[in-house]
Every structure is written in C-alpha cells, then in structure tokens.
Amino acid sequence: MDIFAQQLINGLVLGSVYALVALGYTLVYGILELINFAHGETTMMGSMIALAVIGALFGVAPDLPGIVIVLTGLLVAIPACMLLGYSIERVAYRPLRHAPRLAPLITAIGISIVLQNVAMLIWGKQYIAFPTTLLPQGRHEILGASITDVQIAILVLTVAIMAGLVILVNRTRLGRAMRATAQAPAVAQLMGVNVNAVISATFIIGSALAAIAGVMVSANYGQAHYYMGFLLGLKAFSAAVLGGIGNLAGAMLGGLLLGVIEALGAGYIGDLTGGFLGSHYQDIFAFMVLILVLTLKPSGLLGSKSVERA
C-alpha cells in the first residue's frame, strides 16, 4: 500500500510540471490552433536563466536566505521568458498566420533548435547543478510514503496557478477577449478586440507558466540542461491532448493523469507483464496515450467545442 501511495505522489509531482507546461500549449492552441513546438524550450530557458541568476546571487551574497535567492531567480526568469514568448510569436508565427499549415510548424521546429543551441553556447553542454541547499530539505511521511518540502510546494503552487488562470480567463476583460478570439477572431476584431494584442498576451502568459515550471523541475531534480525542454514539451503536449486541447481544466487533468500513468506504468509494468516489458518503456506511455486519444477520442477527456481539425 505504501508503495502505491508513493507512486501516486511521484506521479502527481511529475504531473504538476506537465500540467503547467501543458497549460501553455492549450492556451495557444485554443486561440491560434497552432502547436507551439518551441514551448518546451521556453521552459528550459526559464530554468537556465533562473539558475544563472541564482548562481550569481549566491556567489555575491551567500548570506541571503535561500528562499529569497531562489525567488529572485524565478522573478528574473518569468519576465525573461515572457519576452522570449512574445518575440517567438512576433518573429516566427505572426508573419505566417495565413500561410499553409506546415509553415509555422517548421519555423517552430527551427526556433526550438535555435533556442537549444543558444542555451548550449551560453551555458555549456554539461548539466548545471541547482544549489538545493538553498531550499528547505524537509521530508515528511504520509501514509507510509515520503514527500519533500519542495514537492509539497510544487503541488500547492500548481493548484494556485491553475485557479488564478481560471479566474483570469473567466472573469477578466482580457479573459473575455481571449475567449472571443478563440471562437471567431474576425468577429472579435469587429467587436473592438485587438486580436494581435490578445495573441501576444496569450503567448506571454503561457511563457510565464513555462518559466515557473522550469524552475520547479530544476529545483526538484537538482539540475538543468539545454536539452531538458524537448521531451518535457512533448509529454506536456500529450497531456494537453489527453485532457482535451484548448481546455484549461483538461490540461490540468491531462498533466496529472499522464504523470500518474507514467509513474504507475514504470513502477508496475515489469511485474504485470512478468518481466516481458520493463521500466525502459516509461517514455512510450506518453506517446501511446497520445496516439490512442487522437485516434479514439480526438476531443480528449474534457473535449472542447472546436476540435474539428483533429
């Protein structure tokens, strides 16, 4: 029982990160029907920038409380990623908004490669350590399973951000403009909505979430690397599709679910198949889920209204 509880916690922590990144995909897709392939790289940049700031600050003022140093890193990474997300949209997607479908997808792959390589040139090819001593190191036992302070913070923060986002989309002027643009950009424009500004805002919000997710990942695993965004992005996208792309609650649910599926899958697949399949198949769960959902129920678990393209 304690093993099951532990796997559940493992899955929820992993899934929270997927969920935050998935929100970025879903926001953009809901409005532009575009897969922002470079979103995973935005997450990576967030993590790297935060680590650079944390490292520098720790070097200059090691006496500051650890949490302040980490928060400063986060507070620098968020606007930096917002700027990055805004620029990506302006440079790579906006000029191609009316081009054939393949075009923005290929620029997205291009941007993704460029960001990886730029990060590699700036921060090198080696893994970078996160000074984990800066954060509380407590460990707690719940139902025979253990969870760390950092992991609790990740879970709480994810839920809080999610709630904030739902309020933003459903209760504010910007949210209303976003929903209008998602439904019919041309009509929204006629009603006085500045569609370009709304799209920029969407990218900016998504990138901010990516930055937070990036810092969470490196704080939890203690390291960051220029390649870390790619697979994370793919899995988060799968999560968004699983929940129903374009749907905020769906992204959250899909992320948590995918995390749990991976944890339980990797944990039990060996025993269930009598050793025929092992934990080395962990990474294919996301892809399997993706293929199954898209072929069986393309609108996802909490299907949104407009998924005619799938």
């Binding site: 575009l34 897969i35 440079v91 790579a92 000029p95 191609l96 009316h98 081009a99 054939p100 479908r101 393949l102 075009a103 923005p104 997808l105 290929i106 620029t107 792959i109 291009g110 941007i111 993704s112 490669i113 460029v114 990886q116 390589n117 730029v118 590699m120 040139l121 793919l234 996208f237 799968s238 599709v241 050793g275 025929f276 092992g278 080395h280 198949y281 990474d283 294919i284 996301a286 892809f287 399997m288 993706l290 293929i291 898209l294 072929t295 393309p298 393209r309 799938a310």
Partner: protein, 359 residues
C-alpha cells in the same frame, strides 16, 4: 518525349550532350573527389546519395501528399535492422541481397501502413506529433528488444554485418574492375548512384501519374478530393507505404555500407534533418530535394574547416563547428519559411501557391 520532339535537331543533340556529360561527370566523380579531397569525401558522397534516397522518400509523404511526417527515420531503422538481422552473425544468417533488400522495403512499407491507418483522420500538426511519437516508439523498442529475448541486441547494436555482395562480387572490399582498382566506397558509390536513379525514376513517374495528381489533390483540399471521387484513405496509405519503402531500401543499403547499426543512428534529429533537406531544397520538387539533401550532408563536413579558420583568425575556437551546424540549421529553417517558403528550388505549383497565400 514530347518535350524532345518539339526541339530542333541541334537543340536535341545539345540535350543529349548535356545528359552524356552529366553521366560522365557522375561516373568520374568519385575519382575526382578522391584525387582532390581524399577518399573520406567519397564516403561523404556515398552518404549524401543515401540521404537523397531518404529525402525523396519523405518527399512523397510530405511534399506530394502534404502529410507532415516527423518519424520518418523509423522506416530507415526498420530497413537497416532488417538487413542487419538477416545478414550478420546475430542469428547466423547471411541471405543474399535480392531477398533482404525487398524484404526490408516491404516490411518498412508494412510499418508505413501500420502508422498510416490510425492516423488517417488526423491532419497537420496533430499528424506531425503522432508520427514523431511513432518514430520514438520504434527507436525505444529497437533499443530495448535485447531482453527477455534478444532480437536487436539492444543498445549494443549489431556488428559484423555482411557487406553487399552481388552474385559473389563483394562491394565490401577492394576489387579490380576493367583494370581499375576500386575500393569499397567507390563500389558503393556506383550502387547508390544506381539506386538513386531508380528512385528518381519512380518519383518522376509517380509525380505525373493519376496517383501523383491524387496526392496533390489531397494536399490541396482533402474534402474536394474526396468529392471528386478519390479514395482518400487508400491514396494516403499509398503515400505512407511508398515513402516507407524508400526509407526501408536506404536503411538496408546503409546497414550493408556501414557494417554496424545501433539505435543511436535513428533518433529524432535524423528525422528532422531529412525534413530540413526537403524544406530547404524545395518541397515537392525532385531537383530541389536532391539539392537539399546534398547541402545538408555536405555543409556540416565543410563546416569542420571553420574550426581551423577560427583558430587562424582568433587563435582559438569560439564556437564548435558541430554546434554551429545545428544553430545554422535552426536559423535556416525559420528564415526559409519566412522569406522563401517554397525552398531553394521550388516546384512551379508550390511557388504559385505561396505567391497566392502571400497576396
């Protein structure tokens, strides 16, 4: 032939002359290259020929039928492993090439249909992601199928693969032909050249056939194509299968040429590289795709020299040539889409479309 008929006698002989010179140039190319740049460049040209085949195969799926496939390398892997398993000590088999190559191509085609069937309803970016996932799944399976039953030898790869041997004439060692001493890379060059010619021939014929037009119709408007009586399901599956066939064929040739295959040769980056060949060269246009394949294979090798150049200019290497290569590809992909979306040598039709879209 009708093009030739309309030409005057003199112009006709000029066409033939050009063709003859081109052929002669291609036949002599490995000797010229070896003499000027060294034998390693013959090897690079061999690889470029392999990539031309791969790019032409992917071009059928992406360029003609407009289905963005990011997992194309899976078929290459299937073909390569098919050869590796049937002609190596792994299972103690050494079947002749005329069994393995068709078998590899056929199995790859089967995988193409396997991938195509569930994804028929998907379009655009969804398809891209699913094919990407499919490519990764194949690679992960190849990497892991060493236990509990050892099939692929897992991450260790398969060594001592038999080279291509055409009725006792092995391409794997130096041979004397008509008084000329030809080493293995030279022999493979002529084989690959022949295969490329075959693939180009098939592609040209497909392009101008009912099937080719049906692909274009689906690419342009699937609904309209279906309304016009095209069986979109079968035609799309055919595109996947044809593309996969060429992938499988190149994979088999790669395994025989290299003598060693391991899963790391078939990662996602490889798929993206093949895609960028098509995008840079000109989607849907055979000469464009060939140009793209040559550029993408040769440029990284040429970039090696920038390391020396940097050392001469600045006294040290600031940017590793290999890093520069990826960075340049990324930038090139973005720039091409923004400023020359139809590629370096665009097909006439594509050029027109992009011009319309821009208007």
């Amino acid at each position: 032939m009708n093009v030739l008929d309309t030409l005057t006698g003199k112009a006709k002989s000029r066409v033939w002359l050009t063709a003859a010179l081109l052929l002669l140039g291609l036949v002599l190319l490995p000797f010229l290259v070896e003499a000027s740049l060294g034998k390693s460049w013959v090897r690079i040209i061999d690889l470029a020929l392999l990539y031309i085949m791969l790019a032409l195969g992917l071009n059928i799926v992406v360029g003609y039928a407009g289905l963005l496939d990011l997992g194309y390398v899976a078929f290459y892997a299937v073909g390569a492993y098919c050869w590796a398993l049937l002609a190596s000590p792994q299972f103690g088999l050494n079947l002749p090439f005329w069994i393995i190559l068709p078998a590899g191509a056929a199995i790859a085609a089967l995988f193409g249909v396997l991938l195509g069937t569930p994804t028929l309803r998907l379009r655009g970016d969804y398809l891209a992601i699913v094919t990407l996932g499919f490519g990764e799944i194949i690679r992960i399976f190849i990497n892991n199928l060493n236990a509990p039953i050892n099939i692929t030898n897992g991450p260790q790869g398969i060594t001592l693969i038999e080279p291509m041997s055409i009725f006792g004439f092995s391409l794997g060692k130096t041979q004397d032909v008509l008084g000329l001493t030809l080493s293995s890379p030279h022999l493979y060059y002529y084989l690959f050249l022949l295969c490329v010619a075959l693939v180009v021939f098939v592609c040209v014929r497909l392009e101008n056939s009912r099937i080719g037009r049906a692909w274009v119709a689906i690419r342009e408007d699937e609904m309209a194509a279906a309304a016009a009586g095209i069986n979109t399901r079968n035609i799309k599956l055919l595109a996947f299968a044809m593309g996969a066939t060429f992938g499988g064929l190149s994979g088999g040739l790669f395994a025989s040429f290299q003598g060693f295959v391991s899963p790391e040769s078939f990662n996602l980056m490889e798929s993206i590289m093949i895609l960028s060949m098509i995008v840079l060269g000109g989607m849907g246009n055979i000469p464009g795709v060939i140009l793209g394949a040559i550029l993408v294979t040769v440029i990284p090798e040429a970039l090696r020299y920038t390391g020396d150049l940097q050392r001469v200019l600045f006294g040290q290497v600031y940017i590793d040539p290999a890093d520069l290569r990826m960075l340049l590809f990324g930038i090139a992909l973005v720039m091409m889409m923004l400023f020359r979306p139809a590629g370096l040598l665009p097909s006439k039709q594509r050029k027109r479309e992009f011009a319309e879209d821009a208007a």
